[in-house]
Amino acid sequence: MPKTITFGPYHSEFLEPEIYEVVVDGDKIIDVKIEQGYTHRGIEQLASTKTYRQGLFLCERICGLCSHAHSCCYCQAVEDAFGVEPPRRAEYIRAAVFEFERLQSHHIWLALLFRTLHDENQFAKLLNAREPLMDLIELICGNRVHYSVNAIGGVRRDLKPAVINRARQLLDGLEKLSTEVLEAIKTHAQRISGIGVLPRERAIPAGVVGPILRASGIASDIRKDDPYAAYDEVDFDVKVEDSCDVLGRALVRVKEIPESVSIIRQLFDRLPSGELRAEVGAPREGEGIGRVEAPRGELIYFVRSNGTNIPQRVKLRPPTYVNDHAVVEMLQGEKLDNFQLVLESLDRCLSCTNRVSIIDARTGSKRVVRVSDLG
C-alpha cells in the first residue's frame, strides 16, 4: 500500500525550505512531488523598480553561494544592452573571483555531502580548510559572501600584488587537499555509486545543467562553449564522468577544484594592467543577454531597456530551477534511504529558484504564471 511521506518545508538536512512529498511503497520511492515558493521574494518585479546600479546589488543577493555569478551575469546582460565593453583587467578580475567562488561553493557542497554520509571527520576537515579561502575572499572583496566586486562596465576593486602572493600559497594547499578529498570520496564509493541515476540520454530532455549534466557524460560548460570574462584566454579541461550517479556528481566537483586552481594561476600570470571600469554613458533602448557557468550550472539573464535608468524587464533562468525538477526522475524507483543523498547530490540552492504558481482552490490544480496570462 503506497503512502506519502512529507519532508519539509524545514528539515534538519535542508539548508533552505521546500516541501518534498515522497510517495513510497515499502522502502521504494514511487513518485516525488515538489512544492516550492517558500523563499519567493519577487525579485524580477523588484528589479524593474530599481536603477541599473541598484539592481546589481539586488541580483547579487538572489543567492549567497552564486552571488558573483548573478552579479556578473547581470552586468554582462546590461553591458550587452548598452554596448559597453569592460576593460581586460576587469574581465580577468571577474574571472578570478568567479573561480574563487566556485572553489568555496564546491568545498561547502563537499562538506555537506560528507555530513549526509555521516562522515563527520571529513565534514569538519573541509569546513576548516574552507576558512583560509574565505579569509582570502574577504581580503579581496571586503565580504565573505556577497562580493560586490562587479560594476556595470567593469569592477570596483583591484587585485593587489600582496593579495595575489597570498592567494598563490593558498592555491597550492587547496590542490593538495583535493587529492585527499578524492581519496575520501572513494572510501564512500560503494554507498553512493549507482544511486540517483540520470542516464546520458535522459539528461538533456530533463534539462539539467552544470555538474549534473557533466556527471551524465555530457561535456557542457559555458566557460568553454560561450566564453565570457577572460575564459577565452585560459586553458582548462571540462571534467566529465559517465557514471550518471551521485558518485559521478561528487567526482566532477572534486576534479573541478584543481582546474579552478589552474585557471586562477593562469589569470594571475597574465593579469593585464589598465583601467578597471569603462565609461557606461546614458542608457539607451535595447535588449541584452548574459550567460555564465555558475558553480551549479548555466545561468542566463535577460535585460530589456526602454532608455530610462530603470530596466523595463529583468528575467533570469538559474541552474537549480532546472536541476531541482530532475530529482523526480532520479528518485523514482530509488530506495527511501537514498533520498537525502540524491537530493544533496544536486547541490540545490533554492533561493534563486522559487517562482509564483497559482493554485486553483476548487480543484487543487497548480500552474505557473506565464507573462501572457497577465495580459
Binding site: 534538519s12 539548508l15 525550505p17 523563499t39 525579485i43 556577497h146
Partner: protein, 293 residues
C-alpha cells in the same frame, strides 16, 4: 548560564546567512567555547536563529517553529533581511518583518553577518570570553559618516539600493541617518559620496538588542533663503558648491559675490521674475568671462 542549543530557520533568505551559520561550525570560531551548539530540530533548541525575509508562505511556519522552542526561547534575527527585509523591501511576497511575527531578543546586522559576528553575538549572551577578531582593512562593514565632511547633498540617499539612508529636516537642522539594520553593506554610498565622507568601518561586532539604536548620523545646519527666509538646503552644501565653482573656473572668481547671492535663494524664490532676470544676467556675464579668455 545553561548551554545554548541553536536552531536555524530560513524563512526566505538568499542562503548567505545560512552558509555563514554552517561556517560558524568551523573550529576557529570556537562555538563550543562560546557556550553553544547547533541542533537540527526545533524541539531540542532553546535559541531560534532566523535568517532571511519572512515570505508569505513561511510566516505560519515561523510561528509554529517558535512555539516548539524550549525556554528561555531566545530569538536572534540575523542578517539585514531578517532585521528589515534589506534590499527586498517593497516586495509583494513579504508581508511582515520577523519581529512583527514573533518577539526578537537580539539583532545581528550584516549582509550576511560573518561567523565572527554571529559567534560574537552568542558570546554576548553567554558572557563567554572569546578573542576579538579583527577584519582586514578593506572590509565592508557598517557605513560611518564623517560629520565634518558630510554636506547633506543626499547623493547616498538617492543611490542606496535598500533605502537605508534617510534625510530628515527638523527645525533648522538636517539629519542624514544611516540605518545599519537596513544596510546591505554594498558600499555604493561610499562610492558615490562626492565629499568622501562615508567610510565602511572595519569591525565585525555590531549586534544589538534594539535595532533602532544601530544607526549613524550626521547633523547639518540648514540655510535660510535670503529672499523669503525659508529653510532650504544645508549651508555647508551651498558653501561647498560655490567653492567648487570658483576653484574649477578661475574666470568666475570676480563674480564671487553675485554667485553666492544667487545660490542663497530657495527654489521657490528662484522662479520670481526679478530673481530669474538677475540669474539670467549673471549667467550671461559668466559666459562672457569665459569667452574673453
Amino acid at each position: 548560564m545553561q548551554e545554548l542549543a541553536i536552531y536555524r530557520l530560513n524563512t526566505g533568505s538568499c542562503n548567505g546567512c545560512d552558509i555563514e551559520v554552517v561556517g560558524a561550525l568551523a573550529e576557529r570560531f570556537r562555538l563550543g567555547d562560546a557556550g553553544a551548539r547547533a541542533v537540527g530540530e526545533p524541539e531540542n533548541a532553546n535559541v531560534l536563529l532566523v535568517t532571511g525575509v519572512v515570505t508569505s508562505k513561511m510566516k505560519e511556519h515561523l510561528k509554529h517553529v517558535y512555539e516548539k522552542i524550549k525556554p528561555p526561547k531566545i530569538v536572534v534575527a540575523a542578517g539585514s533581511c531578517a532585521l528589515s527585509s534589506g534590499v527586498f523591501e517593497g516586495s509583494y511576497n513579504i508581508p511582515n518583518l520577523v519581529d512583527e511575527v514573533i518577539s526578537v531578543n537580539a539583532y545581528v546586522p550584516g549582509c550576511p553577518p560573518s561567523p565572527h559576528a554571529i559567534v560574537g553575538a552568542i558570546a554576548d549572551v553567554t558572557r563567554a570570553k572569546l578573542p576579538s577578531w579583527r577584519p582586514p582593512e578593506d572590509f565592508r562593514g557598517v557605513p560611518e559618516v564623517d560629520d565634518e565632511k558630510c554636506v547633506g547633498c543626499a547623493a547616498c540617499v538617492e543611490m542606496c539600493p535598500a533605502g537605508a539612508i534617510d534625510i530628515v529636516d527638523e527645525g533648522s537642522e538636517r539629519t542624514v541617518r544611516f540605518s545599519h539594520a537596513k544596510c546591505i553593506f554594498c558600499a555604493l554610498c561610499e562610492e558615490v559620496c562626492p565629499e568622501d565622507a562615508i567610510k565602511m568601518a572595519a569591525r565585525y561586532h555590531i549586534a544589538a538588542k534594539n535595532k533602532d539604536e544601530i544607526t549613524d548620523e550626521a547633523k547639518l545646519e540648514l540655510a535660510k533663503c535670503t529672499n523669503c527666509g525659508a529653510l532650504f538646503v544645508p549651508s555647508k552644501q551651498l558653501q561647498k558648491i560655490s567653492e567648487r565653482i570658483l576653484e574649477d573656473v578661475g574666470e568666475y572668481r570676480g563674480f564671487r559675490g553675485a554667485i553666492e547671492k544667487s545660490m542663497g535663494i530657495c527654489q521657490n524664490c528662484r522662479t520670481l521674475l526679478e530673481n530669474a532676470r538677475a540669474a539670467k544676467s549673471l549667467l550671461f556675464s559668466l559666459n562672457e568671462a569665459v569667452r574673453d579668455y
